[in-house]
Amino acid sequence: MRARMPDAVRDSSADPDARREAAEHRFAAEQERVRRAISVATPFISVAIAVLVGSLVILAAGKDPVAAFSAMFRGSFGGVRQIGETLLRATPLVFTGLAVAYGFRSGLFNIGAEGQLFMGGMAAAWVGVMVAGLPWAVSVPVILVAAGLAGAAWAFLPALMKARIGAHEVITTMMFSYIGRYLVSWIIAGPFKDKGAIPQTPMLPGTSQLPRLSDVFTFIEPNRAHLGIVLGVIAAFVVWWILKYTVLGFEARAVGFNPTAAQTGGISVAATTVKSLCISGTLAGLAGAVEVMGVHHRLFDQFSSGFGFTGIAVALLAKNNPIGVIAAAVLFGALSAGAGTMQLDADVSQKVISIIQGVIIFLVGAEMIVTWAVGRLRDRKGGDDAAQ
């Protein structure tokens, strides 16, 4: 120890403390830069890894992943009709993605968006028939408001239970999801059943439907995409504006960021919780409405293929950014639209897309995994740099 001392003194020529401090500072700044870069890159890396995992799963079943994914691409972006199908499937996901993202921003995990979606769909199917005879410009807004309210109502009790007694919203919204599904299953088979044997509600009149884009803009080749996607984009910008520029959004973000600090700062955490979960429910309710008004024009048991749950993946992939939700929804819409072609052309079960979805949630949710993986790569590659 004593023998080495002179060397150390000679090396640090000017002020050793200052030099070390500067070096540490540089190191911290570098770390922060890397962390930010990884954070931005995570969604992209996650999708890439998820596709890789999907390929391995396909390979394990003895099928050709390249053929599978190229079939999937053809089925989702191969032509106007396919792109229309992608947008059609992205539409409810924009709304459920926004619903889950808004919840996350205020520190709430609305895992039960599926149930609120069912309630919204139910309201749309019912009010849509009730307002028959009214002009389109009146009935469509009325239906949307009703569906939004129905979704909010279904989120209200879980919200109240969270705010008042701290019951975890993951369990309560999930339970309400099951209750909602059984309620719909009863409504379509009993009090609001259409004539005939199939349990479904009556067809909506034309004035209650969302028209296809190719019917409005006749220069577009016929496809199934409907006006709902435009509403979805508008909704995304509205949510972005609420979060960024309104008191409501500020309070939601503050509570999501640090409830204790928010409470100390004079924001009512309980009130904000109720408001945020109800807004989330409204958005999920709208998802059900656009699906009923734009695609099926009536309500039946299987009208949602788990849009509420895919909404979680959409929100996470978008890092809860409302505009990012649009892109993430289109990605998942494309996966879903292309899955059929993949099954047909490459003989791969379309369930593989929920594996991809799960991996994406896992990787984006656990950003640390990507950080860890990147860190390991850097360690191996940059071993010499670090030694200097």
């Binding site: 369990i171 309400f176 209750i179 009993g190 369930k351 799960g358 896992f362 949710g365 640390m368």
Partner: protein
């Protein structure tokens, strides 16, 4: 319809049977959360186990090999959750959700790849009850014996294991060094670390234990009860188990008793559906009952139930 038609020994036995998957998961989740790790993936773990158990039992012809496969598969997915939430300090709720969705996708995919069709597998030979006592004649004594035999001695092995685990783990949680250490991890991991308890290792074993219990829950569901696998068949039981865990105040035995309540509600609604011509209520409302009950239970009890202080919070070991 008489009350004696509804209140039969079979009703209580059916309650215990229906409660078992929920109870096993609730006991497992209690252990997991006591260590400070939220395990919302119980639903997915049960589903994975249910599928693996059935598939292996069908392909190998051995039901017990199926049970083993169920436990192994569930623990494998549980270790994914452990790795993400303990080592990588991921958001535990999100990691759990990912596993739930992954489980739904994986079982659906394997269903179609292995069996060539979606939906339900072929039936598998279920595990027999442990005891098989003869029913005794007639008279008051025979009635008493029927009650005792049905309510206490009519179950399959995993059902008994669930009861044993609930009692044993409740004792162990409060009376052994292991239990004290486990609780310290969930209450104050820094303090536990300071006195030399390996936080990561403790939490890993707790998550794996919950995976083990979820595995048995899935095996019980398919290999002891239903006798086949259907996609999405766990149907929210994993989430109900979490409610049972909370109702039972994070004590294994409490979770078991709470699960019995859900099992009883389920058994009752099944029984009442038989009398649908007498009671004119649509079946959907009966089916809702367990979920409504969960909400009611949470509304009534949660305010007073206190979760482990450090549950859900990632812990970063120094150095």
């Amino acid at each position: 319809m008489l009350l004696s038609d509804i209140i039969t020994p079979e009703l209580f036995a059916s309650a215990v049977r229906l409660a078992t998957p929920i109870a096993l998961a609730a006991v497992g989740a209690s252990i997991c959360e006591r260590s400070g790790v939220v395990n919302i993936a119980m639903e997915g773990l049960m589903l994975i186990a249910a599928f693996s158990g059935t598939a292996v039992a069908l392909l190998s012809g051995s039901t017990w090999l199926g049970v083993l496969a169920a436990v192994v598969a569930s623990m494998a997915f549980a270790s994914l959750h452990a790795w993400a939430s303990i080592n990588l300090r991921a958001d535990q709720v999100i990691s759990g959700t990912a596993i739930n969705i992954l489980a739904l996708g994986t079982t659906g995919y394997l269903m179609e790849t292995v069996f060539g069709h979606p939906g339900t597998t072929d039936p598998v030979r279920t595990i027999r009850p442990v005891f098989d006592f003869p029913s005794g004649g007639s008279g008051a004594l025979a009635t008493v014996w029927t009650w005792v035999d049905t309510v206490l001695f009519s179950y399959t092995p995993i059902v008994y294991f669930g009861m044993f685990a609930a009692v044993f783990l409740t004792w162990a949680l409060y009376r052994t060094r292991w239990g004290l250490r486990l609780r310290s991890l969930g209450e104050h991991p820094r303090a536990a670390d300071t006195v030399g308890i390996d936080v990561y290792r403790g939490r890993w074993s707790a998550v794996l234990a919950s995976g083990f219990m979820a595995g048995l829950a899935g095996a019980n569901l398919t290999l002891e009860q239903v006798g086949s696998f259907t996609e999405g068949m766990t149907n929210g039981r994993g989430f109900i188990a979490l409610a049972a865990m909370i109702f039972g105040r994070w004590v294994p035995g409490g979770g078991y008793l709470a699960a019995l309540l859900f099992g009883f509600a389920d058994a009752l609604q099944l029984k009442l559906q038989i009398f649908s011509d007498v009671i004119d209520i649509p079946p959907q409302f009966f089916l809702m009952l367990p979920y409504v009950l969960t909400v009611v239970v949470l509304a009534g009890v949660v305010g007073r139930a206190v979760a482990p202080a450090a549950v859900g919070k990632p812990y970063k070991a120094k150095g």
